[in-house]
Symmetry: C2
């Protein structure tokens, strides 16, 4: 009998408990023995179908040698971080969907896990239920990863999709997302790109092997995307997507940023609509792969966490393969120095040489040659610029 404890029984935590109950036979078959959820840590009074195992004292879990894995669904870096750290120090593996904690404290927590010969797994922290981190670090382990980017936030993708497909303004699309439960009452972390930024930190850490602190990543959300941009992009043959983006440059250097980008209609990523997520990985042997699925939501995220729980049981004390090194600031290249083509929307009588280009008579839009953001300023100096975004290469 393998025993786990759950910290937090909200949306995702509740899903973990449900999967462990409803798919119990499947889990037993996968592990080779029964798997039990022994405790659920909750501050609220015990209630619901799992009331019998709810406790409110973490030290019971910490001191119970039968519990070999702790699944953290609290969120944030306060009490969650404290409990995860103590669990690892107590020699228990930890499974989490907490992207903020991994992006900000992953380096330190992975070092503790390594020292204690336990696992810290976080498949659910990026892409929700989509198998992504394990394929990256395992199936693609024969590849040098050259580039990784994608749509990793369902809320903003829903809003942009509504703007593109239904011609809704940003504010109306955001309200719709809130009504449907796709966006929080305070949508800042999603809309301003923070959530995507934490996820690209984790992906960059894994792909490039040195810690990327969140504050290093230039982050632009979708508040600046106008309905006119969505429309003009469509006419040019592109879709606007909020991309979390990281790429290896010459030598061991790399860049990373979060910003809306124009994606060519021919690229599969441009067709990823609604709340769905998709991540493109380019390896030096495999070329481009894309992983698509539900990037959030109770059951998909819980599904990834339970798979991680099973993995800790199955691997026993085997070697751990997920970690990365200290920050190497000299490796990080400011996106201000990274060239790309640019989408530009402008107005006035002066004209830019853009290809392709479209115009509604008053406003003009098109794609520039490849240049850095710095060079772009000069290029645009003679016109009245309304907006600009990178074009994905």
């Amino acid at each position: 009998m393998k025993k786990a404890a759950l910290l937090g029984c909200g949306v995702v935590g509740g899903g973990v408990a449900i999967i462990m109950r409803d798919n119990a036979a499947l889990l037993e078959k996968a592990v080779g023995e029964p798997v039990e959820l022994k405790y659920i840590l909750e501050t609220k009074a015990p209630s619901g179908p799992f009331a019998d195992r709810m406790i409110n004292d973490f030290s019971i879990i910490e001191n119970d040698p039968e519990v070999t894995v702790v699944a953290e669904c609290i969120g944030g870096v306060g009490v969650a971080y404290d409990f995860v750290r103590r669990s690892l120090l107590a020699g228990k593996s930890v499974v989490t969907c907490n992207k903020q904690m991994i992006a900000e404290r992953g380096l330190e927590l992975l070092a503790i896990a390594k020292e204690k010969h336990v696992f810290l797994l976080f498949e659910a922290s990026v892409g929700g239920g989509i198998p992504l981190l394990r394929p990256l670090t395992n199936c693609l382990s024969a590849n040098r990863i050259e580039e990784i980017y994608g749509i990793v936030n369902g809320t903003t993708n829903y809003i942009l999709t509504q703007m593109i497909e239904c011609g809704e303004e940003f504010d109306a699309a955001l309200s719709a997302a809130q009504r449907l439960g796709y966006a929080e009452a305070d949508p800042t972390a999603d809309v301003d790109g923070l959530d995507s930024m934490r996820k690209i930190c984790i992906l960059s850490d894994l792909c490039f092997g040195s810690n990327l602190p969140p504050e290093k990543v230039p982050t632009e959300g979708i508040r600046g995307v106008a309905l006119e941009d969505a429309t003009m992009a469509e006419k040019l043959g592109y879709s606007i997507k909020l991309l979390a983006y990281a790429r290896r440059l010459d030598g061991e250097r790399f860049t990373a940023f979060v910003a809306p980008q124009l994606v060519q209609k021919e690229q599969l990523l441009s067709s990823v609509g609604g709340v769905m997520n998709a991540v493109v990985v380019r390896g030096n042997a495999v070329g481009e792969c894309l992983f698509y699925g539900a990037g959030a939501g109770r059951m998909p995220t819980a599904s990834a966490m339970v798979a991680d729980i099973l993995d800790t049981f199955r691997r026993g004390n085997g070697r751990k393969f997920i970690d990365w090194g200290e920050e190497q600031p000299e490796r990080f290249v400011d996106p201000m120095d990274v060239p790309s083509a640019w989408y530009v929307r402008y107005t006035g009588s002066a004209a830019l040489q853009l290809a392709p280009a479209v115009s509604d008579g008053v406003e003009h839009a098109g794609i520039t040659p490849r240049m850095t953001p710095r060079a772009l300023e000069d290029y645009l100096s003679g016109v009245q610029v309304l907006n600009r975004f990178r074009v994905l290469e």
Copy 2:
């Protein structure tokens, strides 16, 4: 130092040797010690960059205790099967991209691997370089897999894409594929669906847990797809794709078949063009995931094989998780009893009630209500049918 041997140094085998040479530092980091390709079994005289390790006597590999993993790139079920079997019996793990051997003899070979406490891994056998089998059996292990289907043959997808996008007839598209090296001189295994059929056997084995013998799977290739079907499907809002398809039905029963199907334009799979592959997996917790990438080709396929080699080194004698049981014939449901909507193209004066429907005046096409193939015969009895295909649900 970990040591591997390679059987066959053709397209894929050569790729394995190249990756193991060029990404050596990466592989050493992943495994924790250097990784060497000690032997390459080749019937031709030694030549090329790896001539120093070429041998033509398999028993040298079989009897060398230093070699702990054998990578098979010979193909077919003749000598490849014999060498794989002997490798496993000699206590060596085996890595292969040989879908025919796994589809036909996987059950038996996995039993030997289990008995000998070694691994038989075959990530590269389905989807080439796309991480697919390991995510299925590991990341999605908390899910009951309800459905799995996809485009698993690049040659036929290239031909269909040419027909759809360039209006080429089947014969012209096939010739183009042959000129570009995407199709063999004898294209039977691809065009008639055999390759897809072997792959859906492997996927079904893994998802549903009992052996599905290849001869059980009704298989229809793309020779019957006319240019008119491609055109009519587009007008109806669908793309024609050759799909390898398997689905869990009521209880523990399941069905599997290979046939051209119409895929709605809204589904991401319909946008997978050219030689690319994509597989959709639906799990009871995660919902739908899609895995996309290069399904064939030297480096992508070799990339998956080298990842499997690394995996055998890293897992040591840990538990193996890929296997399935004996055939359970009562679980397999003949697709003749499985309902779906149908695309029908017909001519003549009688009219069917189809929705949506299109017509060029002489020929008519549209989508039927949901019914079994048997019921469809009655439904179509009054009209002159030109063609019919399932519509993906």
